[in-house]
């Protein structure tokens, strides 16, 4: 058939890979979704069928190459259908964070000029419908997935997902080749995504990710020379749970899924993540530091409340684990004969059951990225048999830059550059520069920002200061703009201190202050759940977050964590004063970005009184 020749000539994309897998392995499982208590499967045939029908519906709705299609939903199969269906018709998919409040929804829809928006349910529909129609010039259609509540609305832009897919099926009937023709004209320079960076300063910027970027990422990380040998494959299992509008989750749910054929699992909700992980026992787990910190805290809390015999067992084997962890770190992730033996026996007594509880029993490898993590956390996971590798990348280079690899781990670094990635440090500032085919095409409608980010020679200026370790590994010092210069003239990296503070299970947030001041101080937010349980066991009555934070016992508890952090740092880097935050930081209140990163400028403004009180 001629189509086969056409296909091989055409440019590959994540969408074409789904189509090709549907042809090659039609009955293998591509996706699983837990729904009403049961894991339901989509084969590659069904996956492609949904994607193709959605694509037809987009064409029927008049979506042209280059048009933007937005989606506002938690992770679920419809998310990837929208994502890949848009790519198939050469449209650009733009994802919103489920937590984006109305004002941000309005900004993102207008800035991207999205013509069509997919919303998950009444909650997200209410956000967009509360914006006056005249303020959304570009938006023509709103597709809703969940019927409950939205069915009763009468906005003419609304259409249900089911009805939209029916319109796609009808279009397919009338023009069976329409999607194939559109796909065949795909160019490497086509925009696949607008990924809005959360922006700790200023409004979010839309990073333009091209098909070429994704293809390079697919070759680098989903291939055999990615992180581990063998590379990701059909026998692996991934749970999709980080926000799909972020490049990090896309690498796993889309690139690993379509590129390596790994079945992707969608749990029931974010609230059920632990149970879903326990069901699936994934072999590859992508996590951000906050997730690893929380799992670490959960294990500590559980051990503390176990029965005496179990606690005794845990004390013995955690001691052994510390030995294993130290050895692994020293040997860059390789066991000695002794530690391998210890790990085997420890598996029987403790480690395997610990891993099982949090869904890591079958773990082949885990990744921590998107923000810096404390080495102690990585060491802990390595010590109980979770091979975890810190990696580094950013939206602007499609998440592909450096990674630690088995047997070549340097703790405290983000690893070595991927094979096809050029990396160098700016001679003057020490800023990390990357150059490779996954470097993005620039910021949407922001030529000035683009020009100041990618230079004439094609180097991406990451905004991170780094240094080489052993000439092979990169260590991130901090964001250029976050580096603190004390009034004594010392350069201090706050994030390192903050992450060490956050290794305490009781501490959820830490913001180190001290730019142009005579010493360092910190604003600290407690982890309400963990501290509340700790307080209950000590019969300290409390009500709200604020009330708990104000207890002298809690302050003493945090003081201990601060003291042990201070022991690890030089004098100028020690925290002399701290205040406990009276409220939990929140995205909707503008204190955190959608990816839960602290917006320093806002915090310093809102808690100015607290900060000043530490320097009086």
């Amino acid at each position: 058939m001629t189509t086969t020749a056409d296909r091989s000539a055409a440019i590959a994309s994540p969408a074409s890979r789904v189509r090709d897998r549907a042809a090659a392995t039609p009955d293998l499982v591509a996706l699983r979704e837990k729904n009403r208590g049961i894991w339901r499967e989509f084969t590659w045939t069904e996956y492609w069928d949904r994607v193709e029908t959605f694509s037809h519906a987009l064409i029927a709705a008049g979506i042209q190459p280059g048009d933007r299609v937005a989606i506002h939903s938690d992770n679920r199969p419809e998310w990837v259908f929208t994502d890949l269906g848009s790519i198939a018709v050469r449209a650009v998919c733009m994802g919103l964070y489920p937590t984006n409040p109305v004002a941000e929804v309005e900004y993102l829809l207008n800035d991207s000029g999205s013509r069509l928006l997919v919303v998950e349910d009444a909650e997200q529909a209410d956000k967009v419908l509360s914006i006056p129609v005249s303020d959304l010039q570009h938006l023509e259609k709103i597709i809703y997935i969940e019927h409950r509540g939205v069915d009763a609305y009468d906005d003419p832009r609304l259409m249900s997902w089911d009805a939209f897919m029916e319109s796609g099926a009808a279009h397919q009937e009338a023009h069976p080749q329409a999607v194939a023709e559109r796909m065949a004209s795909t160019e490497p320079s086509d925009l696949a995504y607008l990924v809005y960076t959360s922006g700790t300063t200023g409004p979010p910027k839309g990073s333009m990710i091209t098909i070429e970027n994704l293809e390079f990422a697919t070759a680098e990380i989903a291939g055999d020379h990615g992180i581990v040998q063998p590379g990701p494959g059909l026998d692996d299992l991934i749970v999709s749970y980080l926000p799909l509008c972020h490049i990090y989750e896309k690498l796993f749910s889309v690139v690993f899924g379509t590129g390596a054929g790994v079945p992707i699992h969608f749990g029931e909700s974010l609230d059920t993540l632990v149970a879903d992980m326990r069901d699936v026992q994934p072999t590859i787990v992508q996590g951000v530091p906050r997730i690893w910190e929380r799992i670490h805290a959960a294990i500590q809390v559980r051990l503390a409340s176990a029965s005496r015999l179990k606690r005794l067992n845990a004390v013995v084997w955690l001691k052994a684990a510390r030995h294993i962890g130290r050895t692994l770190v020293r040997r860059h992730g390789r066991h000695t004969i002794t530690t391998r033996f210890l790990a085997r026996v420890g598996d029987v007594f403790l480690y395997r059951s610990l891993r099982e509880r949090v869904g890591l029993r079958r773990i082949r490898y885990a990744v921590s990225a998107a923000a810096p993590i404390a080495p102690e956390i990585l060491q802990f996971f390595m010590s109980i048999g979770v091979p975890i590798y810190e990696a580094y990348g950013m939206t602007e280079n499609c998440g592909v830059a450096t990674v630690n690899r088995p047997g070549r781990i340097r703790l405290g670094t983000v690893g070595e550059p991927y094979m096809g990635c050029e990396i160098r440090l700016d001679e003057e500032t020490g800023e990390i520069l990357t150059r490779h085919p996954a470097v993005f095409a620039g910021y949407w409608n922001m030529p000035d920002s683009t020009a100041s980010t990618i230079d004439e020679d094609g180097w991406l200026h990451t905004g991170d200061v780094g240094e080489w370790v052993d000439g092979t590994h990169v260590r991130i010092v901090d964001r250029i703009k976050d580096i603190i210069i004390t009034s004594g003239g010392k350069n201090v990296s706050p994030s390192e201190i903050e992450n060490t503070l956050k290794t305490s299970p009781f501490i959820k947030e830490a913001i180190v202050i001290g730019d142009r001041r005579k010493y360092l101080s910190a604003l600290i937010g407690i982890d309400f759940e963990v501290v509340s349980e700790w307080a209950q066991r000590r019969r300290i009555p409390h009500t709200t977050y604020r009330d708990l934070s104000e207890k002298p016992e809690v302050r003493a508890l945090v003081q201990k964590a601060v003291d042990s952090t201070n022991e690890k740092f030089a004098r100028v880097e020690q925290i002399k004063q701290f205040r406990l935050l009276a409220k939990e930081l929140d995205h909707e209140d503008g204190e955190l970005t959608a990816t839960q990163k602290v917006k320093r400028s806002i915090i310093e403004e809102r808690f100015a009184d607290d900060i000043e009180s530490m320097y009086r």
Binding site: N35, R36, G37, E146, R148, G149, E268, D271, A275
Partner: protein
């Protein structure tokens, strides 16, 4: 896969036929009048609220409908059948489900088991079939589980599916009680203070569940609650009673404007504060 709407897996009602007719109900305990001449009609798809001060006899009406109390006078007809003298479990079988002011769940069982128990009158297989778990028993068990999972999804309590009820916060237990009543596939739902003791967010959630039940199932719902704002927002018809006597019946706006009601109930606290307590 989208969440199923309630009518996609539960029996639902069409039209606006009257399903419950109470005429001239009288109930007294040792000479004290608890209900004194209450009459009301509830139709399919109607949210009927009963309001009144504490001890006005609201819960007593529920107890008469569900067969716990036997009124001395009057009639209660449900779908054309006389309920008076019928045993509570027979009335439940006919399709009257209720929730309680004080939660009545099995605290040592899981959420799932509590909800599955709500399905017991839809179990048609015998002991033998249950013992071998074959044929009809396994088919029905699967069907019942389907219904229960739909309810879990509706109430958004997936993460509590396997938790023991006694471990759960009060607001979630209230939801589970509603779920257990729904699992019975009622034709008439009696809700006794579903928002009592809840915070603002939990109350809003509960109001949303009640609205969705009404819209998606089209069954009759009788609601008793102190949360005035919720009652006035949700109800189609409100009956105000005081010391067991009906004072007024009508649309929420009418009741809010009714002087007798204001005096007997809404204004009670104001008058205590304003005039020094002459009610």
């Amino acid at each position: 896969m989208r969440a199923r709407l309630l009518h996609e897996f539960l029996q639902h009602a069409e039209g606006q036929e009257p399903i419950l007719e109470i005429a001239d109900l009288h109930l007294s305990f040792a000479g004290i009048k608890a209900i004194d001449g209450v009459s009301l009609t509830v139709r399919n798809g109607e949210l009927f609220a009963i309001i009144g001060p504490n001890g006005a006899g609201k819960t007593s009406i529920f107890n008469c409908i569900s067969g716990v109390y036997r009124p001395q006078e009057g009639s209660i007809r449900f779908l054309g059948r006389d309920l008076l003298g019928m045993k509570p479990h027979r009335i439940a079988d006919l399709g009257v489900a209720r929730t309680f002011q004080n939660i009545e769940l099995f605290p040592q069982l899981t959420v799932l088991d509590n909800l599955m128990l709500g399905r017991h009158q839809h179990v048609r297989y015998g002991t033998f079939a249950a013992a071998v778990r074959f044929g009809r028993a396994s088919r029905e068990e699967a069907r019942n589980r389907e219904v229960v999972e739909g309810i879990i999804e509706f109430l958004d309590i997936q993460q509590h599916r396997k938790s023991y009820v006694l471990m759960l916060p009060y607001g979630i237990q209230k939801r589970i009680e509603l779920g257990r009543a729904l699992a019975m596939e009622p034709k008439l739902l009696l809700l006794d203070e579903p928002a009592a003791g809840m915070n603002v967010e939990e109350t809003e959630d509960m109001a949303r569940f009640i609205t969705d039940i009404k819209r998606e199932l089209g069954i009759g719902v009788i609601l008793v609650d102190h949360e005035m704002r919720m009652v006035m927002d949700l109800a189609d018809t409100v009956l105000a009673i005081d010391f067991g006597k009906p004072i007024a019946v009508g649309k929420p706006q009418e009741i809010q404007a009714n002087q007798d009601v204001i005096r007997a109930y809404l204004g009670q606290e104001h008058s205590v504060a304003d005039t020094g307590g002459t009610t």
